[in-house]
């Protein structure tokens, strides 16, 4: 079996463990410590930020401008599609103009 298949299956097993593991672990405790809960609540924003920040740092004007505009749209209007489409348009337009 190729390395790629092993990675896919390994990723699938680990993902399933994450999806069932929280329930398996938590169902053993009567109460969750508030600090653990606060830390868990911060997980999505913390993880996803690390996927954006280095890309922004390595990006040029079109990349950074698209993130700023998309972030602003998300802040004021909410929702994924408006911010995503606006960011995409800014990115493509600036790459055409500057590239």
């Amino acid at each position: 079996m190729s390395g790629t298949l092993w990675i896919i299956l390994g990723g699938a097993v680990m993902t399933y463990l994450a999806r069932i593991g929280g329930h398996l672990v938590l169902s053993r405790f009567e109460r969750i410590h508030p600090r653990v809960e606060a830390g868990l609540n911060a997980v999505p924003a913390a993880v996803l930020t690390t996927l954006v920040a280095p890309a922004a740092m390595n990006g040029g004007v079109p990349e950074i401008a698209s993130l700023v505009v998309a972030g602003t749209v998300a802040w004021f209007w909410g929702g994924m599609m408006p911010m995503f489409l606006t960011g995409g348009v800014v990115l493509i337009a600036l790459r055409q103009l500057l590239g």
């Binding site: 990723g11 993902t15 606060a38 280095p54």
Partner: protein, 241 residues
């Protein structure tokens, strides 16, 4: 004998109610499924491997991270670990939703948790908030159409990836960070959102420079989580001000 209370009828109604909630999710995730398939082939995966990845992992952001790392000649276990790091948030969903489905059988739980993606979790929480109960029929009625579409669209994106001529000019290579930023913004009403984002951003950039990819994901995330856990309880919403 009353027909409207027959179990079959209730089951079907619950499934349809669940499926209806899945419709906007199917539309919103379609571009990303197609994009994933195209990027996967771009990063050296076959059409079959790309489709299998969507079917087996079923987690958009983690699949994107996985194929991104495939192109970097990184040790396989690190790629697997990075997929786990991105999907680690599901531990939280799992713990939270587990309290709602105590009445499910073991098999139903084992099947149900596989499909616990972000919108599935969000709709389950909202159903509880509105006084409903999360039944297996409702849950799978929402989950299965989303899942089938995700897998099929990934395969189509992979098979027809050559129809996207210049991914750089189309901006496709940088659409993902925009998408991830959208997910980050979606959590902006949570307590400590801004300090967590700021600390994770700085820590991940520093780790990216001095430790390297993909450790910047885990190290940056650990910094943000540690910050939230170290905040005094009195400053949390719900705590004393």
């Amino acid at each position: 004998m009353s027909i409207e209370h027959s179990p079959n009828r209730t089951t079907r109604r619950d499934m349809i109610a669940g499926a209806r909630l899945g419709v906007p999710v199917i539309f919103a995730s379609a571009p990303f499924a197609i994009l994933f398939g195209a990027l996967a082939v771009d990063n050296g995966l076959s059409v079959g491997e790309a489709t299998l990845m969507s079917a087996a992992i079923y987690g958009g952001a983690s699949q994107m991270v996985g194929i991104e790392l495939f192109g970097h000649k990184i040790a396989p276990w690190l790629v697997v670990f990075s997929i786990f790091a991105v999907n680690f948030r599901h531990v939280l969903y799992s713990a939270a939703v587990g309290r709602r489905i105590g009445h499910w059988s073991f098999i139903e739980k084992a099947v149900g948790f596989f499909f616990l993606v972000d919108p599935q979790y969000a709709e389950a929480e909202r159903r509880i908030e509105h006084g409903g109960s999360v039944g297996f029929a409702w849950y799978m009625g929402m989950a299965l159409p989303i899942y089938v579409c995700w897998v099929v669209e990934s395969g189509l994106g992979a098979a027809f990836s050559r129809l996207l001529p210049d991914t750089k000019a189309l901006g496709i290579d940088f659409l993902l960070p925009i998408y991830f930023l959208g997910l980050v913004m979606g959590f902006r009403t949570r307590s400590f959102w801004f300090p967590v984002v700021a600390v994770s951003a700085v820590a991940s950039i520093v780790a990216f420079k001095f430790v390297g990819s993909p450790w910047h994901v885990s190290l940056g995330a650990a910094a943000g989580v540690a910050l939230a856990a170290s905040m005094p309880p009195s400053s949390r919403p719900g705590g004393r001000r």
